[in-house]
Every structure is written in C-alpha cells, then in structure tokens.
Assembly symmetry: C3
Homo-oligomer: 153 residues x 3
C-alpha cells in the first residue's frame, strides 16, 4: 500500500473535513472499485476562498487556487468514504466547471490547480483523464466546481 | 432482492415509458455492474412540465418539480436496460444541469427534487454522490437535465 | 475480437494522433474494464475545424462536423490507452457540451455528429447513453467538447 497520507503530511497539506452537503446527497459513493465524489467548490472551513466569475471577478491565478482547494475537498469526500487515501490506486477522472466571464477561454489553466495537486500527492497514479469546461452560473456564485472519480486497489 | 417496484407503487409513483431519445443514442447502457443513463429533462408523456430558465421563467419550486420528473425519466431509462428496478443495488451518482437566469445560484435546491425522489424510493441505497451545476442553455429550452449512474447487485 | 480497426479503414476514416493535452492531465485512464477519456474539441492537426458558438458563429451542420471530429479525438485518446480499438467492447457514455448562442436549443442535433460516427464504426456496440448540454464558454472558444466512456472485453 502507498503512503499517500504521509506524502500529504510531508507536503504540508491538510485534508479538511469534507464540507457538509448543501442538499440531499452524500459526499462520495463507492461502486465496485470506483469512488465517485460529489461536486466541490473552494470552501475552506465555513468560507469560500473566492467567489465570482473567472475572467472578470477573479484572475486565472485565483481560479487556479480555487481549483486546488476544491480538489482538496474532493479528496476529503473520498477519504470519508474509504477511510484512508492510502487505499487509492489511481485518480481516474477530474471534471472542472469554471464559472466564466463572457469570452473567457482559459478554463484548462484554472483546472490545472486541481490536476497539479493530484500529481503532487499521488505522482503517476494521480495522472487522470480530464475535462475543463466553462459555464455561466454555479451554486452560490462559486468560481469552480470540481468532480472526481478515483479507483481503489 | 429489494422490493423497490412495490415501494414505488405504494408511493403512488408511476415509472413512465422512457422518453424517445431525441438523437442517435440509447436510453441507458450497462457496463459491468454500472448502469449509465442518458440525460433527461422534465418530459411527461409528450409534454414538458416546465420550460425556461430557473430564477426568471421558473421558481425554485417549479425547478424542483422539473428535477423530480427528470429523475423519474432516468429511472425509466434504467428500468428499460435492466428489466426491473428491484435489481438496483445503489444509486451512485446524480448530476443536474440547471438552465439558470443570470445571477441564479440556487441549483442545489433545484436538484434536490431528483435526490429526494431517489431517497424516497430507495432509502439509504438511494443516497448518492451529486453535482448540481448551472448552465446557460439546454436542449429545447428545458430547465434541467439530469444524468444518473446506478449499480446492480 | 472485432475488427473495428479494419472497419475504420474501410470507412476511409483516419484515427489521428491524440491532441497534446492543454494542461496537466493524460488523454485517457483505464479503471477496471472502463476507459475514461479526456474532454476533446474539434482539433485536426494543429488547427480547430471550427471555433465560436453554435447558433450564431456556427450552423448546426458545422457543429455536427465539429462533434464528429471531437469524437474522433476521443477515440484517438482511447486507442493510446489500450493500444487498439479492436479491444473495445462497448461505447458506454458520450457527453457533449455545446457552446451555445443565447436561445439556441439544438444541442442534440449537434452531438449527433459524435453519436453517428460511433455507430458507423462500432455498429450496435457503438450505441451509447448520452447527454447533450449547452454552455456559455468552452476552452479557447471551441464550439463543442466531447467526453466518452468505453468498456473493454
């Protein structure tokens, strides 16, 4: 088994408690060897690190940071479901929806905030298929929502 | 095996015939123990219960109702693929795209219409990972499109 | 094993090299018998066959063509991951996000460009669950982004 929890500590990263679902759902669901997590925004404790649209309210760099925090929240959801992130075999898929100002087309640079965190933590096993998408509105005016599928052993 | 079909009848819910695909695809596809369904809108018979954007043309309550009808159509698709909803082990993932007026951020309250239906029918097995998203346009001006992944035994 | 590679040649279709990821991710990821590919746009060589929004900058027919090219790029990604498309058992799911002009609701006709290519190549095994969605912005102003899940034997 890999020591991803140790690697996370080494990196000085703290997996938060998963944000309480704002609706009638659960943080993550296991089906066979796949773990599907719920869509996450950039919540840290009780607050969002950023709100608004990337390309107007937020810079790409702020969007990148928001993507990183959102991905951490996805990992928190997965940890809740499987107990330890050491059980992860691979990160399979990441999908990032970026709330985008009119004419903004830099979604991949924003979603890199999620992808690069996963590669820092899981190395080659953190490399994933991905989709970066823009949209007009997200819940509560969050700038990004990240979804993730991981697999276990 | 669970008697979800009986529960559905008890609840006075009727699983419709799945709406005919408006394109070159099929209602649902089984892969291993997972069933992936196609995106569904709030069609009842030949008509949509609501059309337009939530937050301007529709209230959150109307959006909620539209989400519930869309989720029923997803169950209809899954039933077509596996024969009986009694075979369902778990609802794994629900994704709801809400056609949203500018500035509308209440997508989770809308998508609850899908989530709460699933919990009414399947109980704890109906609890799912979820993503609620906003978007600017959906096919034929529908207010919501719901996708679902379920697993079988 | 099916001879899909031969069928592709018969049809005069050429599976391209997969476009280089514009971000920190990989083209496709296998998990069990499922292959998840990354979101693809209508890139042909170094250029996009179309850019802009369907319903204003592009006609439905141009969007359809863009969807077909995007789906070919998804197949290229899958081929990179599994070596040969002959290994495909089924196309499981296709999701197409169409960059849509205000009021445009013809996303299913656009995404048919992806679906019909898959049925030409894989026959009944190419039939898939699908979601066609509209959105306001996509990376680099592409008109469509296609995601795909396939299964192997």
């Amino acid at each position: 088994m890999n020591n991803y929890e140790g690697r996370i500590e080494e990196l000085g990263i703290k997996i938060p408690e998963p944000p309480e679902p704002v609706g009638s759902y659960i943080p993550a669901r296991k089906a066979g060897d796949l773990i599907f997590c719920s869509g996450q925004g950039p919540k840290k404790g009780d607050k969002f690190v950023h709100l608004g649209k990337v390309g107007s309210d937020l810079t790409v760099e702020e969007g990148y940071e928001a993507a990183r925090v959102s991905a951490l929240n996805c990992l928190a959801e997965i940890k809740t479901e499987i107990g330890s992130l050491n059980k992860i075999d691979k990160i399979v898929k990441v999908r990032g929806f970026v709330s985008s100002a009119a004419g903004f087309g830099g979604q991949p640079s924003v979603v890199n905030g999620a992808s690069e965190l996963l590669i820092e933590i899981f190395g080659d096993s953190g490399k994933h298929a991905r989709a970066a998408l823009g949209t007009s509105e997200l819940p509560g005016n969050i700038p990004i929502e990240v979804e993730m599928i991981a697999s276990i052993g």
